[in-house]
């Protein structure tokens, strides 16, 4: 066992202080210490994107970040984007457009799509496909995921225009 260190994280708006070994992977800090089981460990080899979270404004594969690196970070997981009683526009859109089947990739997919739409609020289909290319889905064939993200963008932009 390595020596533990104090790690401070702000996750979904809540401050946490915990003791962890520097080598622990952020995905397991989130899942096993903070009980945030939205982000999934799919491959553990930086390939599938199921573990995607947002860290300091970046989409990050949390299986490829040591706990120590995240000390001081601001993190958002799928749990911070919406809840079963109050789905985010993206979550609602994935539901309406059948953007998921087994759901394993979905938290990572939506968390990534969330950041993509922050940076590019009105993406083309190609930009959506390129933007989610770090997230693998074994079930859907991506068609409905892309549809769901494009529809969410349209909804968000429509609401913005209506408000103006």
């Amino acid at each position: 066992m390595g020596k533990k260190m104090q790690i401070a994280l702000t996750v979904n708006g809540e401050a946490h202080d915990l003791l962890a070994e520097p080598r622990e992977l952020l995905i397991y800090v989130l899942r096993e210490r903070l009980n945030l089981t939205g982000p999934h460990a799919g491959c553990e080899t930086s390939h599938c994107g199921a573990c995607t979270i947002e860290m300091n404004g970046k989409s990050v594969k949390s299986c490829t970040v040591f706990a120590a690196q995240a000390n001081g970070a601001t993190i958002t997981t799928i749990e911070g984007l919406g809840s079963p009683d109050s789905l985010s526009v993206l979550q609602q859109s994935f539901r309406e457009h059948h953007g998921l089947q087994c759901g394993y990739c979905t938290p990572g997919m939506i968390t990534r799509a969330h950041r993509l739409l922050q940076e590019n609020p009105d993406p083309t289909e190609e930009e959506v496909r390129f933007g989610i290319s770090g997230n693998l889905c074994r079930c859907t064939g991506y068609q409905n995921i892309v549809k769901a993200i494009l529809a969410a963008a349209a909804t968000i932009n429509g609401a913005k225009e209506a408000a103006e």
Binding site: M1, G2, K3, M5, E21, P22, R23, L25, E44, T45, S46, H47, G49, T52, K58, S59, V60, K61, T64, V65, F66, A68, Q69, N71, R112, L116, F130, G131, I132, S133, G134
Partner: protein, 284 residues
């Protein structure tokens, strides 16, 4: 997959980082974006006693373009390079190559310094930097020195960088003329089966300069003087392109792996190099 235990350091400045490296010697290693090193540590292919995280060292970040020179701090991420309007103006080949690296999540974390210092022949930035004739700044306990990208790579994972040194900056003259980075890969997120960077200039219908470098076709990136020379002085016609491709392919030494046998890679390399030259010519 659990990495072996290590002690973690996060110095606030370069001096602090060099201090940790000096204290622990080859038991210490710097961590940039971690997207090459962490996978290796998880596989226990890299053992690191002291990990020196560079994330707090603000001096290592940023892109500056002035007086025709481009300077990129080692901790600048691939994502930042793709988003940089300054770089898009001064050296558009950088973004063209960077978007072909890995996937969005990796590019948010992966840094240019990590990519060129790593020494993995699969990394795309080393060949690109050889094409641009970039210079790497290395800072160690005895001060700083500059090494040309074309002299930096000795063999896989063996570079001119000494254990106690940190690569702080990459700089090059803003290139002129046409450019292209072509990469053949099996899927998004894969390293190159073959990739090629080209920068060239034309004047009065003739090619006046050409730099051609290749990725993942030997145990180091390959810069081919002969390939460039085959184009210079020609109009860039089909025969000249063919001669340049032949010269470039003669300079590589691919090995067979899960991307295919060596002969297949030579074949793919020829096609990719030809495409890169042709596209660069069309933009010159």
């Amino acid at each position: 997959m659990i990495a072996a235990a290590f002690e973690y350091h996060r110095p606030a400045d370069l001096k602090g980082a060099l201090g940790v490296l000096a204290e622990y010697g080859d038991d210490a290693r710097v961590l940039a974006g971690g997207h090459s090193l962490i996978p290796m540590m998880k596989l226990r292919m890299a053992a690191v006693g002291h990990l020196v995280d560079l994330q707090d060292i603000a001096d290592l970040r940023g892109i500056r373009v002035a007086d025709g020179r481009v300077k990129i701090g080692a901790m600048t991420t691939q994502h930042e390079m793709i988003a940089s309007a300054d770089l898009a103006g001064a050296a558009p080949i950088i973004a063209e190559a960077a978007v072909q690296i890995a996937d969005p999540q990796v590019r948010y974390m992966g840094t240019v310094g990590g990519n060129v210092a790593n020494g993995d022949p699969g990394n795309d930035m080393p060949g690109l930097m050889q094409c641009l004739d970039a210079t790497f700044t290395l800072v160690g306990p005895d001060g700083s020195r500059e090494v040309a990208a074309r002299d930096f790579y000795h063999s896989a994972y063996v570079t001119a960088r000494e254990d106690g040194e940190i690569l702080t900056q990459i700089s090059f003259a803003a290139p002129k003329g046409g450019y292209a980075y072509e990469k053949q890969k099996r899927k998004i997120g894969d390293y190159a089966t073959a990739a090629c960077a080209v920068q060239l200039t034309k004047a009065g219908g003739k090619v006046t300069s050409a730099a051609i470098a290749m990725t993942n076709l030997s145990d180091t990136p390959v810069f081919s003087d002969a390939a460039g020379a085959a184009l210079v002085g020609t109009s860039g016609d089909a025969a000249a392109v063919k001669a340049a491709v032949t010269a470039a392919v003669a300079a590589i030494n691919p090995t067979g792996d899960n991307r295919g046998p060596a002969e297949f890679k030579r074949h793919i390399a020829g096609i990719i190099i030809g495409r890169a030259i042709t596209r660069a010519l069309s933009r010159a």
